[in-house]
Symmetry: none
């Protein structure tokens, strides 16, 4: 991957709203060092509209649940999570239970998948 420092940064414009797209195109169209991508061109980055994003509010998870969730995503067992967090396995299972309910998941794997899909955690 050769990174030519002098090359233009190519940016794709993926905005559905024509008005916003036009304004952005006008603003970004003549900036030295930056170029808008051609229809099929591979871009270094893309501009996407934000308003189309769905994510009402991060599901109400407590801090402790987030801690447990993060470790679950690492594939840690309840025992490992307990050790890591300095709490008992029972407490971990309690939090996992809460997580399963709040994320509407059937198991820890499903919980991690749901959380990742909703952007609650980053894989």
């Amino acid at each position: 991957m050769s990174e030519d420092k002098t090359a233009e940064i190519v940016i794709a414009l993926e905005v559905g709203d024509p008005a916003l797209a036009d304004r952005l195109a006008a603003l970004l169209g003549n900036i030295p060092g930056l170029r808008l991508a051609a229809p099929d061109e591979q871009a270094a980055a893309a501009i996407i509209a934000r308003d189309s994003r769905i994510m009402p509010e991060d599901i109400a998870l407590t801090q402790r649940e987030l801690d447990v969730l993060a470790l679950m995503a690492e594939g840690a067992s309840n025992k490992m999570i307990a050790r890591q967090l300095g709490i008992s396995v029972h407490t971990v299972k309690f939090h996992v239970g809460s997580l399963l309910h709040k994320l509407d998941a059937t198991g820890r794997t499903d919980a991690v998948a749901h959380a990742a899909r909703r952007g609650v955690i980053e894989l």
Copy 2:
């Protein structure tokens, strides 16, 4: 939500690569009519990196393993996977075992997380 046509367009910068983020920030930092969003500010659009990297070659997974992996990512149990695929639970466990080994995972949750990270599956 009043749409003031004369207002600045607020853009969030969500680029992992620090070098690219810096260059973009420098380029976009002083353009009239455009402003980069503050950390918690709601933006009209976002710039995201178009990761062309990563994904050397999909780890050699057989078709059946991919089938099992996909269902695992849905949170399905071995029993459910077996029913879905019309095979025995033992066979599912056999494939899961292969998956764990190939993905270097310690459990099914870890396997799904690894697979998602490597782009083998889409969450």
